[in-house]
């Protein structure tokens, strides 16, 4: 039986890649895309555990993850549009000017 381990390894790789992107990239859109990559890793993880434990809790958890991803995308893109309108740039550093 093809176990859950390799799916977990794959999920952790995707999560870490998304983390690296989130930390390094400066374009706001790419930053949010990186968080979506992290979500993909988590979805794989949840479904792998669902299959390992042979019940559907993990899959329904992954469905709620999709909801969170949609919420995050909506708000994130709203922020991108607002930043672009105010500053004319997509650089995340532009937000640092808002510090008190």
């Amino acid at each position: 039986m093809f176990g859950a381990t390799e799916y977990l390894v794959l999920g952790s790789i995707l999560f870490a890649l998304g983390l690296v992107g989130f930390l390094t990239r400066r374009n706001l859109i790419v930053i949010f895309l990186s968080t979506e990559v992290m979500f993909q890793g988590v979805v794989i993880n949840a479904v792998a555990f669902a299959r390992h434990h042979e019940h559907l809790e993990g899959q329904s958890f992954a469905l709620f993850l999709l909801v969170i991803a949609a919420v995050e995308a909506g708000l994130a893109l709203g922020m991108v549009v607002m930043l672009y309108r105010r500053k004319g740039t997509l650089d995340a550093e532009a937000w640092s000017l808002m510090r008190g």
Partner: protein, 251 residues
Amino acid sequence: MTSAAAYMLYLVFALGGVGLYLLLPKAGVRQTFAGAIIGLLAVVGLILVLATQIIGPGSSAGFFYLFAVVAVLAAARVITHPKPVYSAVYFVLVVVAVTALLVLMNAEFLAVALLIIYAGAILVTYLFVIMLAQQSGSPVYDRRSREPFWAVLAGFVLMAAVAGRAGDLPPSVADASESATATAQSDQPGNTSAIGAIIMTKHIVALEVAGVLLLISMIGALAMVRKELPVETLEPPPKPLGQIGREVQPF
């Protein structure tokens, strides 16, 4: 997972980290070729480690390797490509690969939901915003990374920490009462109705909360991007009736 397998996995991750560091957009010399070579070496090493140490030799899992490699390479390109549009397109590839992996794990409903929600809605919205915020040329913040070394180190240490423990699975908690398993049952109605049943009974509160969350985020996004200026002030105020034709000069 044996400890030997875990150490080999760490080695592969270190290799991948070096490759990713070289691939990330930086000032100065371009090292993308070397980065790509090292990264591909790391992927090949990952396949070897997974195939020989974890799954065991002789196990045929071609589809898993195919889609896993596609997912990892595409995810690496998402975070390293200097053009946001390409990042989004590579992310579509990640989603498609993950969809295929979910189908391999007998989660068809979740796979199609992922495809419809991510690829059909979220990613299209990303592309839409990328097109709206179109910049000419390649701006400097796409060509420079922020602290690439420390970020790669942190990310790959995390990766090693999580993946190194991936073999130590707890025993399966499957019990007879939840017979709606995720395993394939070709004659049964599949896992769609089972997942629907579990969401609408056991997780009904979570479902309601998710709906409220979506509503709140929709209102929040609308409030955030609403134009501050009232529309009326964008145009000059209308002239009084007697003045409308006054600007026309005689020939």
